[in-house]
Symmetry: C2
Amino acid sequence: MAPSAVPANTHAGEPSLNLTSAAIEHRTHGTVEANGTSNITNGVHTNSLPKLDASKLTYSFTKTPREIPAPGVTSEDGNSICTDHMICVPWKAKSGWGTPELKPYGPLSLMPTASVLHYATECFEGMKAYRGHDGKLRLFRPDCNAERMLMSSVRISLPAFEPSELERLVLALMAVDGPKWLPRERPGTFIYLRPTMIGTQAALGALLYIIASYMPVMDNPVGGMRLHTSPDDMVRAWVGGFGYAKVGANYGPSLLATQEARERGFGQILWLYGKEGYCTEAGASNFFVVWKDKETGKTQVVTAPLDDRLILDGVTRRSVLQLIRERLADEVEVVERKYTIGEVMEAESEGRLLECFASGTAYFVMPISLIHHRGQDLPFPMGKAGEGGSVTLKVKGWLKDIMYGGEQHPWGVVVPEEQ
Amino acid sequence: MAPSAVPANTHAGEPSLNLTSAAIEHRTHGTVEANGTSNITNGVHTNSLPKLDASKLTYSFTKTPREIPAPGVTSEDGNSICTDHMICVPWKAKSGWGTPELKPYGPLSLMPTASVLHYATECFEGMKAYRGHDGKLRLFRPDCNAERMLMSSVRISLPAFEPSELERLVLALMAVDGPKWLPRERPGTFIYLRPTMIGTQAALGALLYIIASYMPVMDNPVGGMRLHTSPDDMVRAWVGGFGYAKVGANYGPSLLATQEARERGFGQILWLYGKEGYCTEAGASNFFVVWKDKETGKTQVVTAPLDDRLILDGVTRRSVLQLIRERLADEVEVVERKYTIGEVMEAESEGRLLECFASGTAYFVMPISLIHHRGQDLPFPMGKAGEGGSVTLKVKGWLKDIMYGGEQHPWGVVVPEEQ
């Protein structure tokens, strides 16, 4: 086990880090209780501990509200601009989930020994709130994010919770900050929401918090995004690892390769896997190729499968596939399978490659114009207007309509706003 | 790239996380400058930025010194007991390394958007200070820890520094807190030192800090440590990953398997790699087997090699191998090579297995009494007194002597104490 800045407990004469027990005491053999503890801990029935409960949310409003920035301004002095408030909920192994508190946005106080600062006991979600053209404020499938956050949390040994309660807390933050920070006078804009959970030191604890920040529009790079395949000696995720979970440990280690690619004029890394060179993710976005199948000649949207747990089960990915299945079934076949960069190159050289895009919350649906692989450039068609191929643009349009109220759809969850 | 709570810069029409540039601006194509910046950034020569400089250390002493705990007490209310002071040094992309400050131990203030809390931009070192039987205070090969910290820092895209300056800061902290917290009246005791670097949000920054805490003695578990081999569906590190670096991303994700093993009465996971089942690390300790070689009959100490970068280049590992090479050359052959759990099982069944131990700063040299693999128990000889085999005990004794001044050795670096 890791050398540790925290003291060890002893168990049958064995040392045991308290951060370990801190973090994992909640979970036992597949049973996760929403109070973040296993239902039996040391033989004691503990699931009477308080669960995460959004109905207990308390409100302390800021006394120094800030002005919202001009349209298009998203940062100040190199810092992202966040809204006036955040929501924090402490968790302790002994007492379960504490009272959720909405309070002024500001710094967190963490002990230098906090496990998040040493052992990456952290996970997060990325989602957006959208100000609709109909004036309404919406989240997009927040239930999916809340469920994935639970999965990530358990994978990284942080406490469990009832996902619907997290969803309620996100709605509550937007109910307070949405009217001001996503004003009705700015339809078609969004704000980025970041639910985060971290392992804290004191008394075997964790902290769940939710912040909202501005973020630039990223889905329309001039000329499409250019990808560089991953270096031979770097692998993002591996079978048996944690590539499918939204944990910090997937991100920090890939910054190095990403920055190298940026310095060479590429936007993201296309992460390949194994000797075969399977295509997995583009940066931390899901990656899609549209081609004519070699055998059948049919138009296919192909993307990596989830079953080997290498890639993130993206909410946008899932939505893209579902919309194509529902609305383009006659024209396009959806295929989730392993496919290699060699197959992509072959399709390109045979003129079967139609378009290519990445999807994710931050990048939304992003057309890819080129992949650079081992000294070779693979250009992708970018459609007539140079803004992406026809499947890319159709899917993007449908999703935008759902997000901004152009289409009433169950995926667009309206935030009941105060005032 | 990761959805981000921080704003994106644009570079050639491409979004670019400022945490990325924050973290990596220091590094370019293999050239790392000790001021933490690349020598050329955006065409501007920047290595005139301040470097990490221990000679600039300022001192703000605590006004509320705490009492040191009774011998053997290492934690309070589930928190590790730290010394009165810590050292902090901020880094900013624009201004390089700031002034190192020794100040009262206490909480850190971090913005909720700090990259360490989301993307695991963090690395650390584990080392100990030892109160010798000759009254002197020593560090053990601090140069090795400082150099490894630089390697980890660059791997996780945090700023670079001159390792000898980090070493000086560690000495400075111990010069102040050593006399009180490792009193001369308690010879043979140690304190755990944790240099840590984290990515902070504000203005593309990082923070280096050093804390010192008590930690229990872990190298004498009753009956030796019992290991459980890693579950089939979990891999700690992989070729092309970052298993060799002391970054948070190696630790959080392995807590889950470790806790499952603990619940079943084992101390640590023996992490196997690949279909072949190569033995890599025991927990986050290096792992050694002593056996009679199948072919030659010679006694060998076998441990995993460093060249595929799966395992940590442990300071204790390196010292163990060097001492055996220097002092037991006639009796024992040192072999660094890939070896499988199958080979270990075979040696055990043929009576060739002599002993087994793990090494690391926290666990020191820890005898292993048993490995549980796929339903089978492999018991290891634990020597006459049940405290470990003869190679294990010899190495442990030599190291202890160097650490506690029983042998004057260049690896034992004396801390010049104040007062």
